[in-house]
Symmetry: C2
Subunit: 547 residues, 2 copies
Amino acid sequence: MQVIPLGGLGEIGKNMTAVRQESGIVLIDAGMAFPDEEMPGIDLVLPDFTYLREHQDELRGIVLTHGHEDHVGALPYLLREFNVPVYGTRLTLGLVRPKLAEFGIKKADLREVKAGGNTKLAGFDLEFINVNHSIPDAVAIALRTNAGTIVFSGDYKIDLTPIEGEPMDLGRYAALGEEGVLAYFGDSTNSERPGYVPSERIVQETFNEVFEKTEGRIIVASFASHIHRVSQVVEAAKAHGRLVGVTGRSMIRNVQIARELGYLDLPQSMYVDQRDVNRVPDGDIVILTTGSQGEPMAALSRIAAGTHRTIEAGPGDVVVVSAHPIPGNERGVSRTINNLMKRGAEVLYTPLRAVHVSGHAAQEEQKLVLSLLKPKFLVPVHGEFRMLKHHANTALTLGIQEENIFLLENGDRLEFRNGEARKIEPVQAGMFLVDAGSVADTSESIMRERQQLSEEGMFIVVARINAQSGELLGPPDVISRGFVDPQAQNGLVDESISIVTKTLQRTASRNVTDWSELKKAIRKDLSGFLSQKTRKRPIILPLIVEV
Amino acid sequence: MQVIPLGGLGEIGKNMTAVRQESGIVLIDAGMAFPDEEMPGIDLVLPDFTYLREHQDELRGIVLTHGHEDHVGALPYLLREFNVPVYGTRLTLGLVRPKLAEFGIKKADLREVKAGGNTKLAGFDLEFINVNHSIPDAVAIALRTNAGTIVFSGDYKIDLTPIEGEPMDLGRYAALGEEGVLAYFGDSTNSERPGYVPSERIVQETFNEVFEKTEGRIIVASFASHIHRVSQVVEAAKAHGRLVGVTGRSMIRNVQIARELGYLDLPQSMYVDQRDVNRVPDGDIVILTTGSQGEPMAALSRIAAGTHRTIEAGPGDVVVVSAHPIPGNERGVSRTINNLMKRGAEVLYTPLRAVHVSGHAAQEEQKLVLSLLKPKFLVPVHGEFRMLKHHANTALTLGIQEENIFLLENGDRLEFRNGEARKIEPVQAGMFLVDAGSVADTSESIMRERQQLSEEGMFIVVARINAQSGELLGPPDVISRGFVDPQAQNGLVDESISIVTKTLQRTASRNVTDWSELKKAIRKDLSGFLSQKTRKRPIILPLIVEV
């Protein structure tokens, strides 16, 4: 039996792991990631599917732990290539369904499972175990393989007073631990954080306080998938006699799905379409919105910028940013908060106010889980290396042997045989950049070009030359984009023209007519001049037109 | 008397404020800011000097509060235009001097002042008051103007057990308060933080612990200007018998300046040049380095990536990242930490370990200062709007009248007359983007081009046409950079060529020979096709070559 993480190790996002034995491959989760600042113009990042393509005939199914994008976002792309059954809980599949429809995937084989339930797949016995997380219906997965039992935590925390459903099923973990767990693949997102993560319920206190004292509008921004948070807002609205407006595409959609599937008790009489928000007095409505990460086009950012079609915020209103900024989003979130405050609204955000709790287990929770499961081997998953490493350090304090903890990278293969584990030669894994909905990969060379274009700009030379003699016909043209302002730079244009002219005179006198030689010479002479003159290194594109 | 903030309001950085009365203008600080993610390729950001140019004959001098870049970084650019005296404390001028030399400014009129000292300038009486900050020799400035006394806090915290020098001179603040303070311009950087910021001295405990238990190398990254932090490392090295290696251009320079001016007691016998680091056994050296913000080219990032010329870090070594990430730098810092951990080094960083304290006053310190100064008017400065606003909120709790608190923007003018203050029409203020050391401003249009190039790329069409008839001579060429891979997109190249061909046939049949008309037609037809086919909107550059 082999376990092959294809995403989610050494990074946040695109979680996907293959479990393989003679009877076939089962994939745990199929997540996407968001691009970082080194991927300009990229919409989303997928795991590399190469390994799956190479073992297409072995792939028997995909098992989802919960409905977040970093665990299900790659599913439409996967199903386009591989027609295999997908297992997930009711809400997870409910969130997946409209996405598949968007992609035109009509006959996906979606199979609903329940926490506490079991199923067989590709010779594995699968068990689904209830966990708490910032989305309902999240499960951990225990797989009985021919090498022993392995447990995937999914994303989890231990919430003993959850907003909905049951506390994490620690009893099953204890029972599995008694039976014997070969290996545990555990969520490491919060493994740098000591102690316990508080219950989701503590946010309720802040909400109640806000609803009690606010006379104007209340606007709450959270992740659209955070149905528990949404549910707490709805309950506060009920208690304080406010209606609930909803704005932001994904918030509208998720609220609808959660209502339809019974995860959110929001009667139609309380629901206000975003177009009708202004018909309700400010003191009688709370508005749920997207944009808690400061995304420029999200509803909250538009409210903050004063460009939302129907919703405004101002003096007397209270805006609750009910989320932590994901690393990289700090500036966008800060801009939104500044803009809202400039409009006169009061803004509540972490860490100043208790308006958010994390959905990922901290160190004491990780210790509890490890103590119950007593796995022989630990593989920290979901996280940057620093997080995986801290998870490992926590395990060491519980007496797990260092040689039994594996800090893996995407593509590493861990082989289990006779109760032992070892790393064998890795498979291809990495990133697949999705650009503007294109299916084609955006290559690294294009990423490098975009980076250089954005920082240095482009400098184009058009030279008309005689096809026979290679002689220059008239002075070349130079055009730049994203470079320095050529007019502001004394003589830059004229000198560039004169340099290219000299270069081509020199090459013509040597009878060089090979275009690539000419271009190379132009690039060389110009780049030296431009970088000395402007200290910038634009992409130089010589265009030679034969006449 | 007028006070005109020209930078530092609604932002972090480029602090600069003009104080103007009939007798002339005094400028408080001349700082720069770092570019954000919307300014690709930009090296640094300066305040707009337009107002100063327009009032050049009134400008009498520049007064510096301390030597950080966000308070002195614009000085070379200012002195290039305005030859006025510069007042600052010894270390501040010591840090400024080599920068001016770099810019070829040889005869700046630098006038040394002392905390506790006074001077007259342009009809103002200036007093310099000792404050604590993350750099030695920082001062607040009290100006006696013809409208009353105004106080500029500079950057400050209250450290009752400073590493060097005296605690902030609260006695002078009390005395000024008794005399009567018209207006206080107070540092707002940390005004969202409750309580007091701890003394710099608490970092010492962590350092001592690290030095006691570590057997390998110790590497400490901090801001190069944080002489107190550097000093604590040196003292720990003395106590534990380690030599001190130094790497990173600005760290080497600042350590040298601080030693020369007597702010750092590091004997030559303990100093190890970075080239000689490997001659010292790992357990006998601590290395000071730049790179605490994860800057890709800084020494620590290179150590982490394994590309530093002489210094490596690995198992047994401890790296202390002795700074908080500035918003926007989180990912870079995280990458550095991950890389160092992958090499096997132990890495200590905030908030997990007490390896850094802030240099900016928190709410209780702000309250203490306001209580002592008892200013009639408060203008929160240094910070984004959310920080200014929180500073204002804190002042409200002390009973300062809301109408006496001014939340200003850069360029706003506050006029003081007969003990009253009012906002009058603003002056031009904003950003001046410095690109690769160029003096010329980089215009907004170039920023927009760079943004579009980085996200969408560029698509170039070269068409040869008959100069007389406007007819196309052969199929046009298409070239792209930073766009999608044209080969991967079925038929994209051929279809583009065919579209441009049709466009030019159409225009030729209508006898259009005006180039700008031709280009417009090409752009229109192509952009529709490309965005429909790829969902991207590259910059389209049609080049028409007449033959």
